[in-house]
Structure formats: C-alpha cells, structure tokens
C-alpha cells in the first residue's frame, strides 16, 4: 500500500514528507514505548504512536522506520518536525486513536511485525 492510501484511510494530515507519499508500506508497529520499538519493530514499517517528542524521530531513524503516524490529533512540537525533515522521515497526523488507526489499517491489509533482536541469554 502506498503512503498516499494510508493518508486517505486515516484522513491524515501530512506534517512532513508530502513528496514521499508514493512510498510502499506493508507492515506496521503500534507503540507508545520507544524501547518496544527498539526491541521489536521491523525496518521499513509504519510506526503508529501517541508520542510526539523528538525521541520518536530518533527512534524511527535508528530503526529505519518508513514513516510515522501520530494518533489522536496530537500536533508535534517544532523540534520534532525539524528532526523529521532532517532525517527525511514522513510524519502524518490522524485524529483517530491508536485503536481505530490500527484497526483501519489492519482491515485494509497492513500486517503487524515482530522482529525481536536475538536474546543470547535464552540459549545460554
């Protein structure tokens, strides 16, 4: 699915990355805890989150997240927008809560992702 369609499904506003709406996305990860994103999210996924601070962009950059969807109508502060521009990560904002956002995208065929970094302690 193209980011353009994600925008349509979520009635989202494009905060950063209008020029990248033809990007293809297949998977999504929803979280409010950045440590969870670091532990589990797959590169190339959409990140759906209720946080708007600049750590969201840093985390997305570290994990090669394709694009960020800010839920519940939250507007990001200027430093978040500037960092997203710097790292060229698209940021969309939707009025829907995370439950509705994930529900709508899942219904339209976006799938979840879980790619845990290896736990070495588990196999001694």
């Amino acid at each position: 699915m193209k980011l353009q369609e994600v925008k349509k499904i979520l009635n989202a506003e494009v905060i950063v990355g209008e020029e990248k709406l033809d990007m293809e996305v297949k998977t999504a990860f929803g979280a409010d805890l950045m440590s969870d994103v670091l532990a589990f999210a797959k590169a190339g996924s959409l990140l759906l989150t209720g946080l708007t601070n600049s750590q969201v962009i840093r985390t997305a950059h570290v994990m090669d997240i394709a694009a960020i969807i800010l839920v519940r109508g939250k507007k990001p502060p200027a430093e978040t927008i500037n960092m997203a521009k710097e790292f060229k990560i698209p940021v969309l904002a939707t009025k829907y809560i995370l439950f509705e956002t994930a529900g709508r995208l899942y219904t339209k065929g976006i799938v979840g992702c879980l790619e845990q970094v290896e736990d070495h302690s588990a196999h001694g």
Partner: protein
C-alpha cells in the same frame, strides 16, 4: 460482545478475574501511556497494552474497562494479578503485537 468471545476468538490466556468474563465490550483502546488512557478511554473498552505494572489495574478500574489484554506475551507482575483479582478486572495475555491484536479485535467489534 463479551470478553469471553474475544478470548475464544483470539486464543487469549486468562490470568485474573475469570468470573468476570461476561463483561460487555463496547469499544477498544490501545496505548501504553497511563495518563493518555485515563484521559481518552471509555467505560466498556477492552484495553490493549504492554504495561505490566500494577498501576494498569487502578486505571482499568477507574475507567471501568471490560478487561486488559497484554501484548507480545508480556506477563503481569504478581502485584498486578493480586490487584486485578481484588478489583475484579480480567487480565489476559496475547502473543500478538499491539498492532495485529488491535486489528483483530477491531474487526470483531465492527461485525
């Protein structure tokens, strides 16, 4: 739809208040920031989170949620279970990540 239907449809494990599975589910809320959940969730919501701390029970009880589902196979702490049984809040576990679990429950609820 009640909590028990969701448990059966999605193979959830029940960890507390197994006598409260007839609670009616009228909506859903996914989130890990307790202040957001307090501000924005509704009575009758099934709450999807990966927080395992006992504070989740206080929030669910305050907001009269139908139950809490923990994602990614996260297990609740002992204190959480103790509180959940006291407050009669069903705590369940799914091995799915939040996105996928939310998607499946969303589809059950809109049916």
């Amino acid at each position: 739809m009640n909590v028990e239907t969701i448990i059966k449809e999605l193979n959830l494990k029940v960890r507390s208040a197994s006598d409260k599975l007839n609670n009616n589910v009228t909506g859903g809320y996914t989130g890990d920031l307790l202040s957001d959940v307090i501000a924005n969730s509704h009575e009758g919501d099934i709450w999807i989170t990966r927080q395992v701390h006992q504070n989740i029970v206080a929030v669910a009880s305050l907001k009269e949620h139908a139950g809490i589902i923990l994602t990614n196979s996260c297990e609740p702490t002992g204190e959480t279970l103790e509180k959940a049984n006291q407050e009669k809040i069903p705590v369940m576990i799914s091995d799915l990540p939040a996105f996928e679990l939310t998607g499946k429950i969303y589809n059950l609820l809109v049916k």
